[in-house]
Structure formats: C-alpha cells, structure tokens
Amino acid sequence: MTDQERAALTDRARRIRGHIIKMLAAAGSGHPGGSLSAVEILTFLYFRRMRYDPKNPQWPDRDRFVLSKGHAAPVLYATLAEAGFFPVETLTTLRRFGSILQGHPDMKKTPGVEMSTGSLGQGLSAANGMALAGKLDKKDYRVYVLLGDGEIEEGQIWEAAMTAVHYKLDNLTAFLDYNHLQIDGRIEEVKSNTDPVGRFRSFGWHVLEVDGHDFAALERAVDEAQATKGKPTMIVAHTVKGKGVSFMENQVGWHGTAPKPEEAQKALAELGLA
C-alpha cells in the first residue's frame, strides 16, 4: 500500500465518519460508538478489497459483507453510499418514516445490504451459508462478516464458529470489532468474555490480531486470511469505541446516544469537516 493509497483511504474514512455524525444527529438517535470503531474495517473492505458492482447489487460473483452487529448500521449505510449503492443525500433520512435506512439493516430495503441483522448473534450463520454456497458452486467470491465483542456472548456465534471450521470455510473471513465496551459497561465487567483470540483458536479458526484502525495492518491480515487454506480466519481488530471523535472515544455512554447539534458540530470540526 503506497502512502498515497493510504492517504486516500484515510480521507474516505474521515468522510464516512462525517456521514455517521451527520446522519445520527439528523435522526436524533442511533449508535455512534460501535459505528465509529468499525470505520477503517469497512473502508478497507469496500475501497481496497471487495469485488462488487453498485449498479448490480445482486451480481452473483460479488464478495459479500454481513454486518452481524446490525446496530452499527450507520457505518454500513455511509460506506454503501460512498461506494455508490445509493445517493449520499439519502443518509440523513436515517430512521425516518418511510426511509430505506432503518435503525437496523433490512436487505429488502437497502441496496448492498446482504443480510437483515439487528438481533445479535445471527450474522455468522448466514455468512456460513453464503460461504458454503460459494464452495458448492465453485465460485471464488469471498464472504466477510463483522461481529461485535459484546455480540459474541450469544451462543449461536459458537454454533456457527464450529460449522465454519467443520466445513473448512476458508472463503470466510470474520472481523471482531474488539472495542471492549457494551451497553452496560466494559465487556469484562458484564461477562467474563476475555480472550476471544484463544477461544476462536481453540475452536479451530486461524486467528490474527491487528490494530483495527491501521489500513496496512488490515491489508496484511486480510491477505493472510485469503492465503490460509482449510480453515476460516478471525481477525481480532483492536479498536477504540467512538474512534475519531475525542469526546466519544472509549465512552460507554456513546454506545447508543446520538450527538446533539452542537456536539455534532464539534465532532465535525474535529474531523475537519465543519
């Protein structure tokens, strides 16, 4: 990755953060923390790695991305809009009556959304199904899925983790948005949910750890995932909840609270977008 390419991705990520702030402020509700923590992961996938055609969202050979932590819908919508699936102007209709952008993604309403999510724990199973279909059809598309670190408290994740290993789904790459916070507090305080690296490894996954805000590191990890045969890869991405907006960073209170207009202005100013 050249410095110029990295700078372009950084600028794209900054714009996506700006969209997230603006759309949440316009909606007056929503989830900034876990959207901001995943910006680089989605930016990298959609603008550096994935194969897709925004004019033909159902193209059978496209790579798939499943947002299992569906409450981070703003980062997905902002990314899809930047990628050309629908106009950027649509973003500020988030959560409005009749909008294609509801609080949690609906694959029937929003172009580019691969799976309806919002009830935690369900996306990895659907991603398994997509990866299995790719194997059956001998297609070379890849399936990506983003899990929350609170989300993996759900039992279904571990059912799905076993299936992905059993069927050697090396066309499946999962990311864990490891920002250490969930609604009720720090992950470790809510549940002894420690050592996701060790747990996925013990389930048979190829597990990597990266700085989830470093594009070069994400690229190396995804390259390694793609080169890893016979097993799925879990990229544990160390992230900061609320990343990019100083007063939101690492603050559990910003899990599900939208910025007020003056807070949004301050955030946009920090991002150099005011």
């Binding site: 799976m115 369900q122 398994n128 299995l132 799905a160």
Partner: protein
C-alpha cells in the same frame, strides 16, 4: 401410495426433486435418520449439509444459502425448530423473505412418549404469528408428496409440519392439493368439522359415521393454516349450524383460533368448539394414546359434534363402542 409416515414420503420426494435440481439442499441437525434422509445424504452428498445439534445456526445457514440461489430444506424436530429457532425464522427467513423451506419433523405428539420437551403443540401458533411465513400441515402421503413439489417451485419461505408415524390415506388418486386452498372432503349442512394434519382421517370417518346416522356433517380439510382459505371456511359457517375444529395442537393459536378469528370478524356467530390439546403439559403416551385421552378420535369427534348440535349422545355413543372405533 399409502400408509407411510408423511416425513418419509416428504424426504423421498425431495430426493427425486434434488436429483433433478442441484439447487435443492437438505440441512439437518443430527436428524438425518429421523428425517429419513440417510439415503439422500448417501446419494447426493454435495446437496446435504449436516449442521449438528444447532437449530438456531441451521436456520441462518439456510438463509445464507438461499441468498445465493439455493433452495434449502431444513429438517429438524418441530418442537426445537419452531421454538428454539423462532427468532432466526422470524428474521433470517420470514422478514428477509429468503427461499427457505422449514420442515418441522415429528410434529404434534409424534414423540408422545418422550414428554413435553419433544411435543410440538405450539408450533402452529408461533409460526402463524410471524408475518410472511405460510404454515402447512399435510394429512396423508399423497398430499405431502404433492405439496412438497409445489413448495419447491413456490418462491418464498414456508413452515411445514410432518409427523413421525404412518398415516392412513385420506385422498383419492387424482387429488391435487393447492397451497392456500382447503379441501371439501364431505358435503353436509348440519355442522362443519374443520380439521388439519394427521387427524383428518379420524374427522372424515367421524363425518361419515354421522351421515350414516342422519346427521349431515361437512368435513373440511385445511392443510394451509396460513394463508387461510377464508372463503371455504366462511361458506361452511354460513351453510351449516355449528363449527367444530380438530387439530393436533394446543387449543390456543392454531387452526381453531384461526377459524374463530375469521368467523368473529365476519359477524358469523354460530356455536363453535375448538378440539385440541388443552392448555396443560400434554399427557405422555403414544400418539394414539394421547389422541384417545383428549378425545381426538372418531368417538371423541362424534361426541363433540353431537354436543354442539344439542343431540342426545347416549345411544349413539354405545353404537360407536360396538363399532370399535
């Protein structure tokens, strides 16, 4: 085609369909033998996916496969599929309108002797409340085979319940069921017996028994609980004097509830009785023993029909016992 378990017929039919169309995929949760899919797995291993004991996961996997153009059929016992996976069914299948066919095997009290954990007497209620999900309960082998063929071609999700034991024939050769359409099995004007699933034969026999004794019972089979064949049921309510519904399900939320909701909202106030499993953990025993205990038999159906019509049952009841129903 006669006297086999409906789930055996379903799986045999699906094997034929899958040989012709590689989009058809069978998924199981350690349930290939109870679903009669061992042959399928051996003949078409690429179209068979074993997920292990993970009913939530299997529904999500099926939905993912469906988004890629597959036609997945999920086979797992109805009590677990309909309750443990209710949320996955609601979101990944019904709300997302993925082309997933959910087959609840060993439904009702098929596993009667195994206890409440293995009874599925709320599945129709739960599935019926989920928007966008048709609910189907076939009666006999012919109907099962033909409905499976139709469902494979029908684009969209469905919940279908089959039973574990052999079932008697109901329909003649040449009968072709249609999704969403009920079947008038016996015309009559005194009362209508509306029935689904593995109790259809008993209800039809009860209807014939009543006719032989001068009571004109209509028998209507509803294999598609949702969407309901409203016309056929409203017609039955308008043209007869009472409605008796019969089902292998809780008296709450199933066929009887669906019929009652329809009648009330169409200002049809006629005597009605919902015959099913009362609101209690069902008695434990074989399917037939459970049916007998709750009056889900020819004798029980006749008794309820006569009660509804206000006919003295004493003499006729003796007669039934003589006939050894």
């Amino acid at each position: 085609m006669t006297g086999k378990p409906n789930q055996f017929i379903l799986s045999q039919t699906l094997l034929e369909l899958a040989k012709e169309d590689e989009r058809v995929i069978a998924l199981v949760c350690d349930s290939r033998f109870s679903a009669h899919l061992a042959e399928f797995a051996a003949v078409l291993p690429r179209q068979f996916i074993e997920v292990g004991i993970a009913e939530q996961n299997v529904v999500g996997i099926a939905a993912g496969l469906a988004t890629c153009g597959k036609i997945p059929f999920v086979f797992t016992p109805a009590p677990f599929l309909s309750m443990r996976s209710a949320e996955q069914i609601k979101i990944d299948v019904a709300y997302s309108q993925t082309n997933v066919k959910l087959v609840g095997i060993s439904g009702g009290v098929s596993y009667g002797a195994l206890g409440t954990t293995h009874h599925s007497l709320q599945d129709l209620a739960v599935m019926r409340a989920i928007p966008g999900l048709p609910v189907v309960v076939p009666s006999d082998n012919r109907e099962t085979a033909l409905l499976v063929r139709e469902l494979k071609e029908h684009r969209g999700p469905v919940y279908l319940r089959t039973g574990r034991g052999p079932v008697p024939d109901v329909h003649e050769a040449g009968f072709v069921p249609k999704l969403g359409k009920g079947c008038l099995l016996l015309p009559g004007i005194d009362l209508a017996i509306v029935v689904c699933g593995e109790l259809v034969r008993a209800a039809l026999d009860a209807g014939i028994f009543l006719h032989e004794r001068g009571i004109s019972a209509r028998v209507v089979e509803i294999h598609t609980i949702k969407p309901l064949d409203e016309e056929l049921i409203l017609e039955a309510a308008r043209e007869t004097k009472a409605i008796l519904t019969v089902e292998e399900h809780s008296v709450y939320g199933g066929l009887g509830s669906a019929v009652a909701e329809l009648l009330v909202q169409n200002r049809l106030s006629i005597p009605m009785r919902i015959l099913g499993i009362p609101d209690e953990p069902a008695i434990v025993g074989s399917q037939l023993e459970v049916f007998r205990y709750y009056g889900l038999t020819l004798e029980g159906i006749v008794a309820e029909a006569l009660k509804l019509l206000g006919v003295d049952i004493t003499d006729i009841k003796t007669d039934i016992k003589v006939k050894g129903a």
